[in-house]
């Protein structure tokens, strides 16, 4: 027996006790809030095993189609000019129409009819002629194009939400379309529901717009806003939709501010009980650079005041635009607008190349601000949602496999494991008992590691554990068959055990490393269930190597030692129960 076995033994006891502490709250199903048990962490179960939160989000297609028609109308106007087709007007009309189907009306002098018709027919396949009167076309979107817009908007929304949730670190959510204008998001037992919801629902449209400081002073603008508020009876109360207030304000301000400009606000929020500070700006509506040109965004801490901010990098296209914009507008103010709210409006001091910038955050205390900054960086990186989403429904949902199946499955696994244990103990006797013992330890280690990694366990993950158990049984079989072979070769027991373990080691290592290599690839390139499987498999491979080579060998050594003691004075041990 090798010296220092007791050190190995204590290491094993230590690891086992630690694992039991990690796994106990999960197995005993402790209420983590109430328990006095010092270790407060449980294994997270996925949607298929535990269920979670079921949310339905509605896409605001009225706005989407309004925007689409508006863009078509703008494009028509430009093309008419370019092709020198004189028209009287191109307008979007919404009156007496369904909210999601606005039309474009083109008015022209009668002789221009053919030219107008020809251009629309040739270049605008997505428009159809709804009605015609003398010198007037009413155009609407074709149903094919409407379907295309719907499908694209939904699939883009799903993609963006998936990216955001992935970055937030929730594993294996379900995100799918429902009907034609809704998205279902299912999240497994998320701890910070509100934060997750905020992350999912935020549009995250980033724009850079120039500030108009010439038309009126800040005081004049504030006065104008106050007048409009009084005149139109618009006001903003806590709890209202701020976007709605801004939209109303801009509608009322039309004619009072120059065309092609808009009113926007900077909001400083955070300290409860204190009134919101709203700083108004007059902006040029055209967005010079948008978040579409964003390459990366990350959280940084300002060394001066220790406050986190989000710094971003633009892609080459965006950087060129930004470079030109700043060069042309030195001394003027550039507003950074996120979801129609101004975040800051610094004066351009010099030309800014490289396309880097920062977004400062509102007020708030340290931790909260850090979370805000992290979430903002996530949504900016994941990209903007193509449309505004609204939470329509939020409910609890049971496990997708069904509670009954889970109970049955757990029972079946238990029966299966017991059958294997009995078989192994029958086949290998005392050595079989050792194998079963190390097998149980192996599963314990896998579960403890999963708790430690805060991984989410789903059915694919369980498949990984089942595979681990299979491979672990195999490792024992390989070792024992080797020992038997060595015994047949006529080696004594100690020699056979040593040689058996040594020769089996290479085999086990090769088999496990090949599987580990594949598992790492699945972990890196796979998503969702494939990743979940890879995590448990990888953990399982490590624990299997550890138990087969370290634990099993150690117990065998102890077993041989005991045999030797029993046999003291009666010569060399002759029989091994294998």
């Amino acid at each position: 027996m090798s010296r220092g076995w007791w050190a190995k033994f204590f290491l094993l006891v230590f690891i086992t006790v630690l694992s039991v502490v990690y796994v106990y709250p999960t197995v005993a199903n402790l209420d983590l809030q109430k328990t006095r048990f010092p270790f407060k962490q449980k294994i997270n179960l996925g949607l298929d095993l535990q269920g979670g939160l079921y949310m339905v989000l509605g896409v605001d297609f009225n706005k989407v189609f309004k925007d689409v028609v508006q863009r078509q109308s703008g494009s028509l106007e430009t093309r008419f000019k370019e092709k020198q087709v004189t028209v009287k007007s191109v307008q979007v009309v919404t009156q007496n129409l369904p909210a999601d189907d606005p039309h474009v009306v083109v008015e022209f002098d009668a002789p221009q009819r053919e030219a107008v018709y020809g251009l629309v027919k040739k270049e605008y396949w997505m428009l159809r002629l709804v009605s015609e009167a003398a010198g007037r076309f009413e155009l609407g979107l074709t149903s094919e194009y409407r379907t295309e817009v719907r499908d694209r908007t939904i699939s883009q929304s799903i993609e963006v939400i998936r990216n955001r949730i992935d970055e937030f670190g929730v594993s294996e959510p379900v995100i799918a379309s429902q009907g034609t204008d809704r998205v279902v998001v299912e999240l497994p037992g998320v701890k910070e529901i509100d934060r997750a919801k905020d992350l999912i629902g935020r549009t995250a449209k980033l724009e850079f717009k120039m500030v108009d400081d010439k038309t009126m002073s800040a005081a004049e603008l504030s006065k104008l806003i106050a007048d409009i508020e009084k005149e139109k009876n618009i006001s903003f109360k806590e709890g209202d939709k701020f976007s709605q207030y801004v939209a109303q304000m801009n509608e009322a301000a039309q004619g009072k501010i120059p065309a092609g400009e808009e009113i926007a606000f900077e909001r400083s929020e955070g300290i409860p009980g204190q009134a919101l500070v709203r700083v108004p700006y007059l902006l040029f509506s055209k967005s010079e650079v948008t978040g579409d040109d964003l390459q990366d965004a990350s959280v940084q801490v300002d060394p001066e005041n220790q406050r986190p901010n989000v710094s971003f990098t633009l892609n080459p296209h965006g950087a060129t635009l930004f470079d030109k914009l700043t060069a042309d507008n030195i001394g003027k103010r550039l507003a950074i607008v996120l979801d129609n709210i101004v975040h800051s409006a610094p004066v351009i001091q010099s030309r800014i190349g490289g396309g880097r910038g920062q977004i400062t955050l509102g007020r708030g205390d340290g931790d909260d601000l850090m979370k805000q900054a992290k979430d903002l960086a996530i949504v900016l990186r994941a990209g903007a949602l193509p449309a505004q989403l609204e939470f329509l429904e939020q409910r609890v949902i049971g496990p997708s496999l069904g509670q009954d199946s889970i109970h049955k499955g757990a029972l079946a696994s238990l029966i299966g494991s017991l059958a294997v244990f009995l078989f192994v103990m029958f086949y290998y006797r005392v050595s079989g008992v050792i194998a079963v013992f190390s097998l149980v330890l192996n599963v314990l280690f896998v579960l403890a590691t999963l708790v430690g990694l805060e991984a989410t366990l789903t059915l694919p993950g369980i498949a990984g554990i089942a595979l681990t158990v299979g491979i672990a049984v195999d490792s024992n079989v390989v070792i024992y068959e080797r020992i038997r072979e060595e015994l047949r070769l006529g080696k004594n027991i100690f020699g056979a055990v040593e040689a058996g373990f040594q020769k089996a080691f290479r085999t086990i290592l090769d088999a496990n490393v090949t599987n580990a290599a594949a598992a790492i690839v699945l972990l890196v390139y796979g998503t969702g269930p494939i990743k979940g499987f890879a995590v448990t498999l990888l953990v399982g491979i490590l624990t299997t190597l550890f138990t087969a080579i370290f634990v099993c060998k150690l117990i065998f050594d102890i077993y041989l030692h005991v045999l030797e003691k029993k046999n003291q004075g009666k010569g060399v041990v002759q029989t091994l129960s294998i």
Partner: protein, 332 residues
């Protein structure tokens, strides 16, 4: 000492390798033909489907709703509780699309109506849902499996020899394709759970193959006098006990899962059961046969090169070499 396989057993596994490979090639071709004609029965995870929300009386639990659905004509259902437990609402997902939505809803109504009176249950809403595993997930899944196989190919070439790696990867390909073939024939639903089972069986078969390979490598190294055929056959025979024992143990667990696991787990366990059988078969017959083919190919090529190089036309084929060392015989 219990022994399933007596030591010293010499079954001729590799002698009929053309036959085994032939059977496998036919099975793979058949699967490919079936894949394009009959097709996999993709579950709603991949295709999306219809979603019906029902409210049932308090005496009904999820298993009752599930068995009512299974007895009905609604295809490929999944039942899930929604809302608080006290609300007794369930979400029934089934195969279907926009056109068949009314039909599915009617079928659900009929299924519940068999045992419940009108008014005791309520169809609360019906809708179509998109796939939970969309196209991007499918693509990344496919790609990651491809990279994983590539990785195994490289690792086995590096750790063993280039003669070994194609067999290992082909065996894995063989296993997954044939398991898919069984799925096409039985028309069981292929969904995310089955994908997980498929991954697990690839891992299992990989483990199995490497253990046989390891013994082939060792045997050829220790007994240089053996022909490649003899070496492989001997290695397969020597590991036969462990192969059967391990497969038996794993099969036992999965069998219990299949027998007692209930309807939902059943298909998952079924995949693993098929996989264990096919995976064990492929490590014994397919992966090792490929080592023989490739070794023979290399030797033939080496011989041809020698001829064209102007050297004496000697045969370097291992097969023709005399068996120098007699095989040692062990007494059990």
């Amino acid at each position: 000492m219990f022994e399933i396989i007596r030591p010293g057993t010499q079954i001729d596994f590799v002698g009929k390798r053309h036959l085994w490979i032939g059977i496998s090639i036919i099975s793979i071709l058949a699967t490919i033909v079936l894949f394009f004609t009959k097709g996999l029965n993709y579950g709603i995870d991949f295709t999306g489907g219809a979603e019906v929300q029902v409210k049932v009386p308090e005496s009904w639990d999820i298993s009752k709703v599930r068995s009512a659905m299974e007895a009905s004509s609604v295809k490929g259902t999944k039942v899930q509780q929604i809302g608080e437990a006290a609300s007794h609402q369930f979400l029934i997902k089934a195969q279907g699309d926009e056109k068949s939505l009314n039909l599915v809803s009617k079928q659900v109504e009929e299924a519940l109506g068999k045992t419940l009176k009108t008014g005791e249950f309520e169809i609360q809403k019906t809708d179509v849902v998109g796939p939970a595993a969309g196209s991007s997930l499918r693509t990344s899944g496919f790609l990651s499996m491809f990279y994983a196989l590539l990785c195994i190919l490289l690792y086995v070439s590096f750790r063993f020899d280039t003669r070994y790696s194609p067999g290992a990867v082909l065996a894995l390909f063989h296993d997954s394709v044939i398991t898919l073939g069984v799925f096409i024939i039985t028309q069981k639903q292929f969904d995310l759970q089955i994908l997980a089972a498929l991954l697990a069986l690839i891992g299992y078969s990989n483990n199995d193959t490497i253990i046989v390979y390891d013994r082939v490598r060792e045997t050829l190294h220790q007994h240089p006098g053996l022909t490649i055929e003899q070496g492989v056959n001997r290695a397969v025979n020597e590991t036969l006990g462990r192969t059967i024992l391990t497969s038996l143990c794993t099969f036992l667990t999965v069998f219990a899962l299949w027998l007692f696991g209930g309807k939902v787990i059943e298909d998952f366990a079924f995949t693993l059961m098929v996989g264990i059988v096919v995976g064990t078969y492929s490590s014994i017959f397919i992966a090792s046969s490929f080592v023989i083919y490739l070794t023979e190919y290399q030797q033939n090529r080496a011989a041809k090169l020698k001829i064209s190089g102007g050297g004496k036309p000697t045969s370097v084929k291992r097969k023709s070499m005399p068996n120098v060392r007699p095989e040692p015989k062990f007494q059990p």
